[in-house]
Structure formats: C-alpha cells, structure tokens
Symmetry: C2
Subunit: 108 residues, 2 copies
Amino acid sequence: MQPASTPEPPYYAVIFTSLRTEIDEGYGDMASRMIDLASEQPDFLGVESARGADGLGITVSYWASEEAIANWRAQAEHRVAQAHGRGKWYEQFITRVAKVERVRHFGR
Amino acid sequence: MQPASTPEPPYYAVIFTSLRTEIDEGYGDMASRMIDLASEQPDFLGVESARGADGLGITVSYWASEEAIANWRAQAEHRVAQAHGRGKWYEQFITRVAKVERVRHFGR
C-alpha cells in the first residue's frame, strides 16, 4: 500500500486505531473487503492502513465530505462488519473524525 | 503501543504516512527518540505509530493547538531528524494536519 493520493485540502480523515483480540476467524477477509467496499463509496478519496508488530493498527480513510463519512458508517455490509468487530475481532478501538487543513509531500 | 488517550475534541492530529528507503542506519534510534522528544513538548496529547509488513508506516501525533504543531516542527533536534529523513531514510512521505472534531471509543 502507498500513501494515499488525495486532492488539495480541505477534506476529511477518519483515523481508526485498534488493538485486536486473539480471534482471527474471518478477520483478514473482512478487512480487505472493507477496503474494497469503502473505495467504491461516493466521495471516497483514499485509504492508508498499517498494523505493527506490536499489534497496534492504524487505518486512515479520506473523504470529500462529512455526509460521505455518515453514509459509509451506515452502509449495510459495513454495519455487519462493525458488529462483528465489536463482537469478536477488536479488543479496543478509537475512531476520530478530523478535517484535513494542510498537507505537505516529499518524494524522490 | 496503545491507542492514544486524548481529551475531548477539538484538538489537532498530524498524520505522517511514509515509505522508507533501504537505508536503516540510525533510523530506529531516531524514530524512538522523536517519539520521546515529542512527548515532552508543550500541548502534546499523544502518539500512535505502526509500520506494516508491506512497508507503509503511519504515525499520528495529537496536539492541543496549531501553535504546538508549529513549535514541534521547528524544534531543533527534530529539524535535524527531518533533514536526515529527507536525505536518506524516507522514499516518500505525506504530512497532513487535521482538526479532530468527533471521537468514538470501544473497549471491553
């Protein structure tokens, strides 16, 4: 996965930080399916995701509007995944919605 | 590392997404030193960091004010690390400054 190519700000970021349980059943398929499904939603701008060796996971998705975030949160298949997440996959998570105001890039 | 305990919003997030070069010299020491040093700055609220097996790294630091972010960006030892980052450690990075507006928590 590459850093997400996003347009000029302002736009919105959803920062999802999580620790997993030890229950792996179905998790990998769900995680990749949710990235594919998010990518198909209106006003989706990009996504970045990493889980470190210590278990902390960070997924940041970018959206053109707050309405797009509300629609994604309410999307039917995503709601099922959220319920499984609370039921078995996640020990803890924090979701932060933020408005991106400034961006700097570096590349070789 | 745990998800960061932060106060009620609003506050600010700096989302730093990166791909590394193959040059490891000094990188690990710098990365842990910068997390320690950031944690000592005024109005620092917390930090979360993960680098996945595919190489994408995401570090999100949280700050009480935009002034705190500007001060951290200008901090002398941090500026040296930034220069080394551009010079050898990072292939590519994006820094996004965002205002956190809403937060939801889940925990067992």
